[in-house]
């Protein structure tokens, strides 16, 4: 409650957060499971009639709710319906002996007047409850009544996560072998493995957005997350580490190879930290390995480009539009369209289609990340970044999958160029202060670089820098972009949303490394 609501955090679960883990069949490929599944077949996207058929929410009722919400005026009103089912299973001490199921159901009503917002929600999709919520949202305005649309036009969408077999159609007993297999694999990799925790989570979310312009958009969003963490013990010393994979997709998106790599990666990351030291304290050249190092972009620039901070003038990037902020080989993209990635969305949570937005083009700042309010403020089209955790929250500008395009350098050449520095490979969390631009990320695994070569392993250190300063110090960008497929969740104003991030191998010429006596 007392946290700075303007600090943002990005984190990935480093362990099993309590429950949930599904298991694929021990020998099975994901495809085998699909064959056996009795899955509801989804034709195209979620039909806009889902909430009508399941809960009796008719177009007439939606029009009445919108009319009530606009009874005191306002420029815009939208209803956001959500029905989601989440399930998880967890393995600990060799058994898949915990399960969890969650149902979330409700509608959020938002009224916008200029940049002012009235918001209310209800978990009861009954007429009276929805009208009560509409009246509460209407309190933001005090003018003559606006009008509801005469009818709704269903908007069609591109599908960036076509799903043939939904995890929600796979019963628990057919998920459990996945975790059992992961457990066996992990213990088999290293005799020092003492504990294994694994979990599998999936969500099947229907949404429907109806607004006062008559737009009606529906989507059905899949998501799964497979997490593994392990503890190794060697001569009384303990190390733990993790790996996780999370994608917006069904059974087909969890590849056999990825499951095996999950076990190898978690064990390797833990084993490497026996004998690892702390890096030296102070400013050093830092090489960011490709993949989850995209956390740099998320914290150093992504949040600062969210247009709510810029329209209020409080972001360090507020006066930087169309100015150079990085080398010519730096281009940064926020992209809803990467197939099956965790941050991808067919439509944002206020009805704008998912799209690809170039934030930085050849070193020049090109676009903020907009929601409806900021787009109207800047008189530009929305960029599809209006997202929310659930119907309990009003949408605000958020990232999707944020990554840097490939540059001209090679990984080996980048490492070779560093006389004395560090390379960072595994991350757990980051944070930024928007106005000052200071940001951090925590490194779980890395190596020292001495005379152009990776040498001793290093672990558990924080890196802190200033966004614009660090971007200007990105002096080399590799040609090996990788978008990470881990379980990144971004927090802002108390709302968590799934995101993706990626980076080619990069060199930051100087940044403060949290270490010990230099």
């Amino acid at each position: 409650m007392t946290m700075d609501r303007r600090q943002f955090m990005l984190a990935t679960a480093t362990g099993v957060a309590g429950l949930a883990a599904p298991t694929l069949l021990t020998r099975c490929a994901a495809g085998r499971v699909r064959e056996e599944a009795t899955v509801p077949q989804l034709i195209d996207l979620a039909p806009a009639s889902y909430f009508e058929s399941q809960f009796g929410v008719t177009p007439e009722l939606m029009r009445e709710v919108i009319a009530t919400a606009l009874a005191s005026g306002g420029d815009h009103c939208e209803l956001y319906f959500q029905h989601s089912r989440e399930a998880s299973i967890g393995l600990e001490d060799g058994a898949v002996n915990r399960g969890s199921a969650t149902v979330d159901l409700g509608v959020g009503v938002r009224v916008i007047r200029g940049d002012q917002t009235g918001y209310a929600y209800t978990e009861e999709l009954e007429r009276e409850s929805m009208l009560t919520a509409a009246r509460a949202a209407a309190a933001i305005a005090d003018g003559p009544a606006g009008s509801a649309p005469k009818s709704f036009a269903v908007q069609t969408l591109e599908n960036f996560y076509p799903t043939a077999s939904w995890w929600s159609g796979i019963s628990v007993d057919r998920r459990m072998p996945l975790l059992d297999r992961l457990n066996t694999l992990t213990f088999g990799l290293d005799p020092r493995v003492k504990k294994v925790r694994a979990s599998f989570y999936d969500e099947d979310r229907y949404i429907l957005i109806a607004d006062s312009s008559g737009r009606l958009v529906a989507d059905r969003l899949p998501m799964f997350a497979l997490r593994l963490s392990c503890t190794l013990e060697d001569k009384g010393q303990i190390e733990e580490n993790y790996d996780a994979v999370s994608l917006r997709g069904g059974v087909d998106e969890l590849k056999d190879e990825r499951i095996e790599r999950l076990a190898r990666t978690a064990v390797d990351r833990a084993a490497r930290n026996f004998g690892a030291r702390k890096p030296p304290a102070g400013e050093l050249p830092v090489v960011l390995a490709h993949g989850s190092s995209g956390i740099l972009l998320h914290e150093a620039i992504g949040h600062g480009m969210e247009a709510d901070f810029n329209r209020k003038g409080i972001s360090i990037y507020a006066e930087k539009m169309n100015q150079p902020i990085a080398g010519k080989f730096v281009s940064i993209i926020d992209d809803a369209t990467v197939p099956h990635y965790r941050g991808s969305i067919n439509v944002d949570d206020e009805g704008s289609p998912g799209q690809r937005t170039v934030l930085v083009e050849n070193g020049v700042l090109r676009s903020y990340l907009h929601d409806r309010i900021s787009a109207a403020h800047y008189r530009v089209p929305p960029t599809g970044n209006g997202r929310r955790e659930s119907f309990r929250f009003a949408p605000i500008p958020r990232m999707r999958n944020t990554y840097m395009a490939n540059g001209p350098h090679q990984r080996e050449e980048i490492i070779r160029s560093v006389k004395r520095g560090v390379i960072c490979e595994t991350f757990t969390n980051g944070e930024v202060n928007i106005g000052a631009g200071d940001f951090t990320f925590y490194v779980k695994n890395g190596y020292l670089i001495e005379d152009g070569k990776e040498t001793a392993p290093i672990k558990d250190f924080n890196i802190i820098g200033n966004g614009p300063d660090v971007l200007s110090k990105v002096t080399m960008v590799g040609d090996d972009l990788k978008i990470d497929d881990s379980t990144w969740t971004c927090g802002k104003d108390g709302q968590g949303v799934p995101v993706g991030q990626g980076l080619p191998t990069c060199l930051v010429s100087s940044i403060t490394v949290g270490g010990v006596d230099a």
């Binding site: 409650m1 918001y119 303990i238 202060n433 000052a436 802190i464």
Partner: protein, 439 residues
Amino acid sequence: MARSLEQIAQHALDTALAKGAAEVAVRVGRTRFTSLSFRDRKLDKSEASTSSSLTLTLFLDGRYSSNSTCDLRPDAVADFCDRLVAMTRKLAPDPHRRLPEPEYYQGRSERDLGIYDDQHAALGIDRRKELARSAEEEARGASDRVISATATFYDDVSDSVRLHSNGFRGNYNYTSFWAQVESSVRGDGDKKPEDWSVVGARKLANLGDPAPCGRDATLRALQQIGAGKIDSARLPLVIENRAAGRLLGHLLQPLNASAIQQKRSCYADLLGKSVASAKLTLIDDPWLVGGFGSRLYDNEGITSRPMPIIEQGVLKNFYVDVYYGRKLGLRATTGIKSNLVFSGGQGGLEDLTRGVERGVLVTGFIGGNSSPATGDFSLGVRGFLIEKGQRGQPIAEMNITDNLLTFWNKLVSVGADPYLYSSSRTPSLRFDDVQFSGM
């Protein structure tokens, strides 16, 4: 028409048992939340909603699941129970999963925790708006450098019922009232330092005037103008009370029974041993009047009682829930912290700073993390240089790096100035010889 929480809970419990559960724990809660924000002298955002939830913990055939739904329609609850029973049956059995033994429910205090304001309903929208508006006005009025200030007044009233099929029954009701201000100011170059201030109380009458928060947020932001890093060095560290809670979180993580049982705790073998300087006495106090973590029972129904965690540096208790307690052969204490209270402190922030020849006053953490298994941690910090006992230039973009097992032994002074707006009532703290990374 509307069913009471008791009725909903009893119906869910009966339904789950009828569907085949051997034991059931049910919690039903309902929270009404209102929030009003002022920015640029006008209402920026208004929110008002009522939220309900049902959590159902099932035990059957030695198997376990923990579930929740906000769809409380009787038919939907019945369908949900069908699904849960079918799912739970398929899981692997676990002999340690049962409801708590009823003896854990015994001896519940009947004291008044002072966490429910029965005048809550008398608070109207206009009064809420005025509280937010006046705080924003103060924030803007404190400096002509203010770019944007947002003041939010928010409050909630929450009722819940917990029922267990082996006899536990409890009601837990609370209210809370908060005023929070965020202020951004023009700094050097493109920088726009920002800071926040908050007051909160369980009863509106105890909240006081939130307007000074506005001024505090702006002054704190102004003080950060020109912040930068200094050379890396080992220096004394003073932490302001409101920032210290985050540091405490890293200490508590490995004190949990699940961490110990899963071999991810650097404190696993240290119960009864010295783990910190003798200056550190830390008590988990669920009975604190008006506390934000106050309660009479915990999330498993275990009767809450004050419990020393660390006494004069000696580790006295772990946080042990029923499940991991059974696995470890330990008696459960509680798996969830209530209020954390320090004792034996003296003086305030100025007193702790006064004796420092050259050091750093940390007023906020940013990012960072720790390894509960090894105790290693590294955290981003901001604050001020201390020179000859005085607060000097503002500092940002630095890290502190240490290990929990050595760090808490460097604690040399504890203030008597607990931060009142959190369940972790941290005072200001001073440590010697801490590694700072900067230039």
